[in-house]
Symmetry: C2
Subunit: 447 residues, 2 copies
């Protein structure tokens, strides 16, 4: 059995390792086009914040371990350029520029995603950077060290952009953030996004939402982001407006694509070709709440999907129920978390959502050190089902969000969730956890 994997990060190496653990006799070959495998991409902003930590700290397992200890034929610098389903081969170019071809019995496409770069004049200027893979991270750290960077402009205000704003601030860099859309975090209710905006601004970051970006120019302090109202100057421009799935290989091979042009897979992670699987940031998934296909590129589901592919390749039939879109990020001293659907997503999926936003305290009555804690909760007017939750606060949001995530998997109603026996001790929450307070409020809106 020849199991071939394209891509050597979370999904690819998870699948490779697990296949070898499941059935050591299987031949497992991984082609990775960069030099880097198995690293914590999500850790990059935190590493970039610290000039004294090498970026390679983020490598979870080194290539030689995969090769020597696990018996995986791991080939870095190998760029797969075509999948040929008719003869079940992949072909590409090795680090010396020679062509290679490899036959597979089962193939996993784990090509990840790429940072989206808008087609702006000046996007290729030196100092215009993105952050997706480890090489991107190295370039950013090198650029900061060499230039040096005193001011930076970040295009985009999503969670990677915000994590990077914090990282750059910790390096003593003055940060401005700009984006064309007028609303700061459009998927959040205003109470939550305002608290995050204040947190960011209180740390000295200047926000410029709703500004048309005409291009990037060299000059002044190094680079200028040009808008009709003026220029933002800096020695570095980070473009962080999102990612898009690397699905060209799959599309060229005639495989079906799903939302956002991610590779479409079933609950066994099979593409439209039964011998080809896809997993990780290049693939779609079923949303646990809507049952519909969704593109939610996050690390846990990449690892989980990699394992499931390995099990299926090894004959241990495995299906994944789906993703809830549970995510958390830290922005300065705030934790911001979400799971499930926003009101807009719920409407788009055919629900009739009702929602509440409550502000509570992070600790019990009269307990010192308490801070504000926001919960936004969405339920369905027809079925009473819990559809989604968002939270923000200085403590507890990151781990609290797992409770409604489990409730979404269990397809609980808001009334069911409200009855859950959650933990209480004065240093950690009010007697009624803010999630229960939100559920109680939301129940009043539901029939």
């Amino acid at each position: 059995m020849e199991f071939v994997i394209i891509g050597g990060d979370a999904a690819g190496m998870s699948a490779a390792s697990r296949a070898k653990r499941n059935r050591p006799e299987i031949s497992v070959t991984v082609f990775e086009k960069t030099r880097d495998v198995s690293y914590s991409a999500c850790g990059m902003p935190y590493n970039i914040a610290d000039p004294h930590r090498p970026l390679d700290d983020l490598v979870v397992r080194h290539a030689h371990v995969f090769r020597k200890k696990q018996g995986i034929d791991l080939r870095v610098g190998h760029c797969v350029e075509a999948i040929n389903p008719a003869d079940k081969t992949v072909s590409g170019t090795d680090p010396e520029g020679n062509s290679f071809q490899k036959a597979y019995d089962k193939l996993l496409i784990a090509t990840g995603a790429s940072a989206v770069i808008p087609d702006l004049p000046g996007k290729d200027l030196p100092g215009v950077l993105v952050l997706k893979n480890l090489e991107d991270g190295r370039k950013i750290k090198d650029w900061i060290a060499r230039t040096p960077v005193e001011q930076a402009v970040i295009i985009g205000m999503g969670y990677i952009a915000l994590e990077m704003a914090e990282a750059l601030c910790r390096r003593g860099i003055a940060v401005e953030m700009i984006k064309p859309r007028p609303v700061f975090l459009p998927w959040m209710p205003p109470e939550l996004s305002d608290s995050i905006r204040k947190e960011v601004e209180n740390h000295g970051v200047r926000l410029h939402p709703g500004k048309t970006i005409e291009g990037i120019e060299a000059g002044g302090k190094g680079l200028r982001v040009v808008t009709p109202e003026g220029r933002l100057e800096g020695e570095m421009v980070l473009v962080a407006v999102g990612v898009s799935p690397n699905s060209r290989l799959a599309a060229d091979a005639g495989l079906d694509l799903g939302p956002r042009k991610a590779v479409a897979v079933d609950r066994s992670l099979r593409t439209s070709n039964p011998d080809i699987f896809a997993a990780g940031d290049c693939a779609d998934a079923f949303h646990i709440v809507t049952g519909q296909r969704a593109y939610i590129p996050l690390a846990l589901r990449a690892n989980r999907a990699g394992w499931a592919v390995a099990d299926n390749v090894c004959g241990m039939k495995t299906t994944l129920p789906g993703v809830a879109g549970t995510a958390v990020f830290k922005v300065f001293d705030l934790q911001v978390a979400r799971t499930g659907l926003t009101v807009q997503e719920a409407e788009a999926a055919g629900f009739q959502p009702a929602a509440v936003t409550i502000k509570a305290r992070s600790r019990a009555h009269a307990h010192p050190g308490a801070s504000d804690f926001w919960v936004h909760m969405v339920g369905d007017n027809v079925s009473g089902r819990l559809l989604g939750v968002q939270m923000a606060g200085k403590e507890g949001a990151a781990h609290r969000i797992n409770a409604p995530a489990v409730a979404l998997h269990a397809k609980m109603t808001v009334a069911d969730f409200y009855q859950c026996d959650l933990a209480y001790a004065p240093p950690f929450s009010p007697v009624w956890d803010p999630m229960l307070t939100a559920a109680n409020q939301l129940l009043k809106e539901l029939p």
Copy 2:
């Protein structure tokens, strides 16, 4: 309609307030034998730790608010001495020593629990103290201030005992803890209880488990706890060996009692007399995992039960599904949490439990500031159901425990829980949350 409530803390005042909100025309009378109503008993150790905070900070809502703004006939210092179901009255003694009698249409027994005091010689000596109600807290704070206390002996090693050990340490008091049973925290697996024992000992607390306590004597530094092996000296002895439900009134009135002699109630909080309800620390509850009666005196379920009683009294039929026994406590820098059943409890309830204990890290690979994180997980060999979880760690245990608590309410299997899409960001957890790692390990033990 005359709604009469015996006891004015969590369950009693929750019921009184909600009944008035539901139906302002109802007459609500509360008899509270102490002078204190509606306070955060769980906050007392943290308040005692700070000599500058008055204990009355813990009062959530003052008596005059209940009386003036909510129209509740709240009578403090009124001790109910008998319930007479035949003529639907309660009788007792008022603060002036006069007898009173009051007729009810519906009665709520919310008499709480009392600290258990073992029948030891010397248990009534000055300086031998307990902690249950606000007056107990005042006595402790006064005793520490007046004596002054340099050394204290705590009899018991449960969570209140441990919270008080921390509180006394923060006051600069040297603490010794003693109990007859040999195992430190017998409901925990050794890996978790060892981590807690070390945390306590690292803060200078000396533990003496497995010591027979012969009595308490006056003399030496003030008081001496006498064991066959020697004496522990201090100016204060805190007895914290647990609580027992205040169910004598109910028993004398012929009402059924449940486990630990708590007042037995159905899922509507009705006792064996349909016009009499019971809620809070005096009453039992159904366990969500076993479906059996259990005595788990905790604050959230007291508040929740109080509300449910009010709804039922007001004709809005309400039942509570039950409790999961979710609890958390802080001991110095550790968070310790549990939900559901231990292995022993699972066996006693007729399950065939399997269990694993894993040690993970609190943050992602290579993320600074990570610490050890333990998860113990119990599942059923027959059904595959998740039965219980325990956790300990410096960060995240208190809020993480809510996720398996929700899973217990949903009667999830371990396999279902393992598939849940939990949150990940490097500052908050590994990609695979320790709970998922534990579930994955446990799945290997289950058929």
